[in-house]
Amino acid sequence: MNIEGKKAIWSEYQKEIADDNYFYVRSCIRQNFFPGSEVAFLKIMREELHKDVYEHPCHTTCSGIGYHGDVVPVETAMTVVARQFALMTEAGYQNYIPSCITSFGLYTEVLETWHHFPEVEKKVREQLWKATKREFVIPKNLAHASDIIFKFRKEISAKAKFKLVNKNTGEPLKVVDHIGCHYAKMFPSKGIGGAEYPYVLAGMVEEWGGKVIDYPERRHCCGFGFRQYLIQANRGFSIACSKEKFKSMQPFEPDMIITNCPGCPMFLDRWQYVINEMEGKRYGKNGEGIPVFTYEEVAGLVLGYNPWDLGLQMHQTDCEPVLDKIGIEYDPEEKHNTSIYNEKTGVHGFVNV
């Protein structure tokens, strides 16, 4: 494989990412799946990078899951999106950062639609006014939260306490980067590195000392693919998709998987557990599972955050093998200790970031 060829493609797909003053919108589902990730993002942004990040209490779902699941019509989805933009406008922000990949895809699609069909934007503005008496300004900058971490990957590296390196061998950890389908497959020019060879996560991995694996099924869906999982009868397709990916990456003996989508880490993590329960099969080296992380979790680990504060105890595929390889110390007794109570967050046991 010729890495120069990839670099040539990466250089063609760059995008503008705002420096500061972000309007951050959370995902509908990530807080249930991996509750430490969004909290870690905010901590990194505010306390490590000293950026202004604003969250609005009235933010709702973008309706992207319903839109892509064929239950929410596009006009409705656009009006919901318009309302989110109105919240941003009212709060005095211009740089919009969704935590969710599907939201990012939907916002991108809506903005592109309005760009090419101004009459649709006009109609949506009228609908929003009738429904809520709100108005909005189109964001000056739209970036996914992983774009922001990519942008500041060097700053994070400068503060890092750990590298994605096997402390015993000195070798870079072998990392599978899995990009959410809605990040760039619909609009390649909106993703760092484009759709075929995305660089957004690969750039973080490289900067933090790891090595990215290029395996045959890297483009394949994680298995979420809304209609595969949300429609119960299709769930067999969901796990079959994930299994294809695991089989394909197995010969490369990856140490870990990094993701930037709400559903991907969930399915790549949980289905490994299910496949092992059903077939007694694991896909990591030496019969282990392959730990799956969100990019915020990886950034948090690199920065030296407590793994249990990052919520890694919520993973069904144990993450300890990776922590051991990197040399991150942790207390196994604290992993599921729910007696800890954080007054600031009001949460028991974990996510004390």
Binding site: M1, G5, A8, I9, P216, E217
Partner: protein, 342 residues
């Protein structure tokens, strides 16, 4: 005839036009951007449909432009082109000024840059090559993988950069199907133990003896033709290419491991042609090639009086058609001067 004609482009069309103009008694300057004339023929080893050596056609063309009436300027290109009441004034990149009573534009085509079809991994995966790269291997007499081994499983992707909305090329490049058939046969000739697969949308065998060649490929050489578009290529841990295709006749997706994949790059308006179009106001069509005054009966005539087209600068053509088109351009030039005199 005391007229001077500048032919822009020294490929098949330009050489044929220059030769015919010289034969008719005109003084000709032939300007070629490369160091040698011959154009894409220089990159091709054998030609379809009879698999004759391309050097035979090259020799014919070289002989054609050996006339004392032809001044050949190579390694340079036209930087400026102005028209005035006496005709045209052109200057080349190296500062040579040329006066012309008429111009024949024969800027040809560029091969589609296959790296633009990112999903095929050209320039990334070592054993994904183009039809042009394969011809270079034929010239050397050895078809090898990046590691020096002989490939056993070889695929051909048709329509790379042609009939493809995603890259902005709606048109058919016309020659890639028959080139794939020719090259598939040649691979089987070189490597009798190999298996060859052609992945096509339609087999467009619209030239003399093409269909026969297609039949020969199947019956005599056992080439497998699979109707379906390749969706993606990746690389396995043992450097095999993992290829995904939808077989639209069988109605199911396929996944196959190959040693080598050949991309049949299509034809696009040349960069040089586009620059001349921008500079002069010569009209181009939706396909970005030069747009002649009439596709049926004025296929060599441009929208600027005194400028004529020859060859693939107007549309994809094979060599036979290119030579005929160049000759008809010369006929139009002669008519132009005859009518001017009248």
């Amino acid at each position: 005839m005391n007229k001077h004609i500048v032919v822009i482009g020294g490929g098949t069309a330009g050489m044929e036009a220059a030769g015919q103009l010289a034969q008719a008694g005109f003084a000709v300057s032939l300007v070629e951007k490369e160091k040698e004339t011959g154009g894409h023929l220089n990159d091709w080893y054998k030609l379809f449909p009879d698999r004759r050596n391309s050097s035979e056609v090259r020799d014919y063309l070289k002989n054609k432009v050996s006339s004392k009436n032809i001044e050949i300027l190579t390694g340079t290109y036209i930087e400026k082109l102005h028209s005035n009441k006496d005709g045209f004034l052109l200057s080349t990149r190296d500062g040579t000024e040329l006066k012309a009573d008429a111009i024949v534009v024969a800027t040809g085509f560029d091969l589609f840059k296959s790296s633009r079809k990112e999903e095929y991994g050209y320039g990334i995966y070592d054993n994904v090559i183009t039809s042009k790269d394969l011809e270079a291997m034929f010239s050397k007499g050895e078809i090898t993988l990046n590691n020096g081994n002989s490939p056993k499983m070889i695929g051909f992707v048709h329509c790379v950069g042609s009939r493809d909305e995603k890259v902005g090329n709606f048109y058919c490049s016309k020659l890639c199907c028959v080139t794939a058939v020719k090259q598939a046969i040649e691979v089987r000739e070189h490597l009798p133990e190999s298996r060859v697969f052609c992945f096509y949308m339609d087999m467009r065998m619209g030239g003399a003896h093409y269909e026969e060649l297609y039949r020969e490929a199947q019956e005599a050489w056992g080439v497998n033709f699979i109707r379906g578009k390749v969706s993606e290529i990746s690389e396995s841990i043992n450097n095999k290419l993992v290829v995904k295709i939808e077989d639209t006749l069988a109605g199911r997706p396929l996944k196959i491991e190959l040693d080598m994949m050949v991309l049949m790059a299509g034809m696009e308006m040349s960069e040089g042609g586009s620059k001349i179009a921008e500079q002069t106001g010569l009209k181009t069509g939706e396909n970005r090639f030069f747009s002649p005054e009439d596709h049926h009966y004025a296929n060599n005539i441009s929208n600027i009086k005194g400028i004529f087209y020859a060859g693939t600068c107007t549309a994809p053509m094979n060599i036979t058609e290119t030579i005929s088109h160049a000759r008809s351009a010369v006929s139009e030039v002669i008519n132009y001067f005859n009518n001017s005199r009248a």
